[in-house]
């Protein structure tokens, strides 16, 4: 199998794990869409850094919870960088609270962003991938979901759902050379975990938080030609926390 020419979209890549993934895929030779919802400045900085290293890149603002905006983002990618052969669903958020106190809005926004958005992008990505007989979809899940975490019922439900989506879509399209996998990071030092990670390093067998680059390296492997037979799997990246 050969990898066709095409581009990669990384949702929510203005900072954190997404930014590291976008940089890593660019370094692997993929033209990359750096997608953002609110942080145009962050996305521009990520894109500038990638371009500075000789990568082809375009920053595209799109709220991936909206199918029409997803379609616009894909069209821009297709026009400016080529058909989208790699999709990384990384956009995510948290809005914590114990279930009895969690507002309906905080429930819905987390489900929309972490789970439904991945469905919208996946659906848009798959048909061209089916024709190309190649595709790589990687969903950034979490060790929370398969595992409990008090105060994160919405987040856990969204990430568990994302793993279910990953496995089922993987089975649907496997015979067309398309793989669909998830990575499940543990505690990674980003803005999302600011303030919660510091006291927890002791509980992690590796005795430290992970880095965005360590998650990105796993995504880069799953996207590679060598990972063609890996599909429907969840690669845990957590320093042994859930082992």
């Amino acid at each position: 199998m050969t990898v066709p020419d095409g581009s990669a979209i990384v949702t929510g890549s203005a900072r954190g794990i997404g930014a590291a993934i976008a940089s890593s895929l660019a370094a692997a030779g993929w033209p990359v869409v750096v997608n953002y919802r609110g942080d145009a400045e962050g996305a521009a900085a990520v894109a500038e850094a990638i371009a500075g290293n000789g990568g082809r890149v375009v920053a595209v603002g799109a709220d991936v919870t909206e199918p029409a905006q997803v379609d616009r983002m894909f069209k821009r990618a297709e026009q400016e960088l080529g058909p989208v052969m790699v999709l990384v669903n990384n956009a995510g958020m948290r809005a914590d609270g114990l279930a009895p106190q969690l507002s309906a809005d905080d429930w819905q926004s987390v489900i929309d962003t972490n789970l439904s958005a991945a469905f919208h992008t996946t659906r848009r990505a798959l048909r061209p991938m089916l024709r190309a007989r190649f595709g790589r979809i990687v969903n950034v899940a979490s060790i929370i979901g398969p595992r409990a975490n008090a105060g994160q019922s919405n987040y856990a439900a969204s990430k568990a759902g994302l793993i279910g989506l990953t496995k089922t879509v993987a089975v649907e399209v496997a015979r067309r050379g398309i793989t669909v996998n998830a990575v499940a990071p543990g505690l990674v030092a980003t803005k999302l975990t600011e303030g919660i990670g510091d006291g927890l390093a002791e509980a992690i067998p590796a005795r430290r938080l992970g880095t965005p680059e360590e998650v990105a390296a796993c995504v880069r492997f799953l996207v590679s030609e060598e990972a063609a037979y890996v599909t429907g799997s969840v690669l845990t990246v957590d320093g042994g926390l859930s082992a």
């Binding site: 048909r127 061209p128 089916l130 024709r131 649907e172 399209v173 015979r175 067309r176």
Partner: protein, 81 residues
Amino acid sequence: MATQVTNEAVEKVIFDGLVEIGAEGEVTREATLESLDVDSLDLVELSQIIEDEFAVELDADAVKDVKTVGDVIDLVVARGA
């Protein structure tokens, strides 16, 4: 841009498309999709081929009752008219 929808054009694109996606046996208007070993995923791909060529969208609902290759051709011609 999109190709004009005519019976002949649609028939050619669908016949070629079915060969491209690996239909088993001879592709004719009368052949059933089942006999050609065309399953639901193949139909999704065929729908994409049709959309790319004619800008006619076929969703899951539209194709759920098609049986033969001719049914698909007629559906596309009707929708593209």
